[in-house]
Symmetry: C2
Subunit: 254 residues, 2 copies
DNA sequence: ATAATAGTGTCTCTGAGACATTATACG
DNA sequence: CGTATAATGTCTCAGAGACACTATTAT
């Protein structure tokens, strides 16, 4: 804030930037991570799919712009949008990321439970869920934003209670495990998963009544709600794909 | 990118934003975390201290702007600045964060070893290191940016090899431990710290020759260099202030 | 009965924390 | 000598992984 081009802070002496938000909206559906994309109706990248987003208005913060856009794209009410998890990822500032003009974009990640009809009624006439692993090349630098968003979500599942954001208000531990397995792309041992989830204070609460719900033709599962905690102690670490699991020649030299 | 204000993308139809970078430059000096601040010479916040920073130029990315500003403020050469750790934190977009105009700021954190004369020769005539715990109220929203930067650095020490960025090219394990203790504000058990650092593959490498260095009047310590790894496996978790059933940080019972 | 999912119990190994002990410098 | 710092070793417990086993539903 001390150096730069506009010496006298003349409001018209600085280079004009546009500021947008881009949203990576995720849900878990059919045991696969899905992301909400919109089809572009005009150049550049006409016909390509892109992350939903839009301009930040003069009197709103980027967070407010993100929630506004999210409401427009998903058709959710302002109350629902206000309560769901929205997280700033990072800001993309490559001078050539938009061929028309200088645009910096603040990227956000949002997590939704699998909704009955999530496609909204805004101006995004052609919005749909895509398998997050199988999106074609997206417009602008959205491939990179999407990849960064996936990495961030996966990492945050380890040490936060974020996974419950993918679930409906009441859920089974099997559904919660499905979230982890889907985002991480691994299979987890159910008894161990149970032990860790129930052992983390404030992660989940058993629903008091004895009601249960069936997921198919097995034993009905007890229902849980999200607990009050936001961070996970101890963390739920994902299994490490790096080479040998527990024998390391590097270490003590005799 | 699909909705918003400028329907036809007229380059003059969108609200004008200025984009700046703000830098939280940290070093460890005298067993305390220090941050580089500059004194503002003009309103608003004249005479208040602020994080260094400046405008993003029309043809550079925010990362490039951050490195350019860092070189100006510290007086380091472009090669030195190009090699040190610079990390985007998040972007601050409150519409009223700058009383003059609409400015969004991309915040960065940088880590430096304790340099002989770190104060640079740019236009920041009055730049100096401050104890990061004892900065007065800063200009703009820089108190919040600084707090966020401290949190991020502390968290990243747990699962990355970032701590070596605070050290000179060759360092002792005692100096590395000092970094952790200073950033986290806790005392660590030296034998356990040693075991974990040496057990993490690629974190540090012993310097081949038998040269040693003294820190005062004790036994000289072996020198190490940063290893090739960037992430820490297993992580070096900071002791939890939340009382756990079995471990007590303040456990000196006679 | 068989399949499928939910839930419990147990064993072992790793890593963290606490702490004792030895080694090598300085005064 | 004592003191200060570096380095090694040892003990114990918590948590993770692997896996056997039981429980309850649908077909």
């Amino acid at each position: 804030m001390s150096t730069g081009v506009p010496e006298g802070y003349d409001p018209h002496a600085f280079p004009p930037f546009a500021v947008t938000v881009d949203l990576a909206v995720f849900t878990v559906r059919d045991a696969a991570l899905h992301v909400l994309l919109v089809e572009r109706g005009q150049d550049p990248f006409r016909g390509r799919w892109a992350l939903p987003g839009g301009f930040v208005l003069p009197r709103e913060s980027a967070d407010e712009a993100a929630r506004r856009e999210l409401a427009e794209e998903t058709g959710l009410g302002p109350d629902a949008v206000g309560s769901l998890h929205l997280e700033q990822l990072r800001t993309y500032t490559d001078p050539d990321r938009d061929p028309r003009m200088r645009v910096v974009s603040v990227a956000y990640a949002a997590l939704l439970p699998d909704l009955p009809e999530p496609r909204g009624g805004g101006d995004a006439a052609s919005a749909r869920w895509w398998d997050a692993r199988a999106t074609g090349p997206l417009a602008f630098d959205h491939d990179r934003i999407l990849a960064d968003a996936r990495d961030r979500i996966g990492a945050k599942l380890e040490y936060t209670c974020l996974a419950t954001e993918f679930c409906p208000p009441e859920f089974t531990l099997g559904e919660l495990q499905q979230v982890y397995e889907t985002v991480w792309g691994v299979e987890l041992d159910r008894p161990n998963f149970r032990r860790k989830v129930l052992g983390a204070p404030g992660f989940v609460q058993p629903v008091d009544g004895p009601p249960r719900r069936t997921g198919g033709r097995g034993k009905p599962a007890a229902l849980h709600r999200a607990g009050g905690a936001t961070t996970l102690h101890p963390p739920l670490l994902r299994p490490q794909p790096t080479d040998t699991p527990h024998s390391r020649p590097e270490g003590r030299t005799p």
